[in-house]
Symmetry: C2
DNA sequence: GCATAACACAAGCAGGCATTTGTACTTATG
DNA sequence: CATAAGTACAAATGCCTGCTTGTGTTATGC
């Protein structure tokens, strides 16, 4: 078991466009659920549900302040996704690209 | 319309664990469908289906060679995902993290 | 032209997930 | 305790999607 199992929830969470919109909404700073719902154009219940998914995926953190619940981006979860993607470009992206294309030419020749 | 619509297919494609396994299987170099299916433990039809999804998402490229169909990673699609993720860490990851945590303390105080 | 290998396409089924609707919980106020 | 604001939880619904099964398509060998 590697980082695959760890980031599986994060990948599935990021697959939804509304959840990515939520992450962008709280990117600048923590915001309550109601404000987030208004920004992304979803109901309070749906937004709360998505925030729970993002929370369990390690992509968002919550903090209670009175009757409100402020949510913010959790950099740790996104760092895991980033390192996963980075694993596909050890050094230079162009190197891999040219390597692949040269294989196509080999196959053609 | 920004990069959100463009990368939506890529995000949904990467949400599936088997498709990520397929990407890792063809990471070193182009391979035929049968070999990929054997590596990831899926049927030929299912693997072909997933490769089609990855192809439409811009994450994999295919090339016919006789009766075989070689697939390889498409760096362009993954680059789009990478730039999306990078957008959450403009400079230093730790800066955002401490900024968020300091807001929590403000809220508590 | 026929058989075989490798792969893609299509229909059907089952599970997962996003959304809605309704409601309970927590906190502040009087 | 009663009320209002903000949010989370639960059931129901409809859609999307991954997998299976069956079949069509393309290329090689005889």
């Amino acid at each position: 078991m590697g980082a695959e199992q760890v980031t599986d929830l994060a990948w599935r969470a990021l697959a939804d466009r509304n959840r990515r919109a939520i992450l962008r909404a709280i990117r600048a700073g923590p915001q309550p659920v109601g404000a987030i719902a208004e920004q992304v154009g979803l109901s309070q219940q749906t937004t709360s549900h998505h925030l729970g998914v993002l929370r369990k995926a390690g992509l968002a953190t919550g903090h209670r302040e009175g009757t409100r619940h402020l949510f913010a981006v959790d950099p740790d979860g996104l760092a895991a996704v980033r390192s996963y993607v980075d694993d596909f470009w050890p050094r230079k992206l162009s190197d891999l690209k040219t390597a692949v294309e040269s294989r196509w030419e080999k196959a053609d020749g």
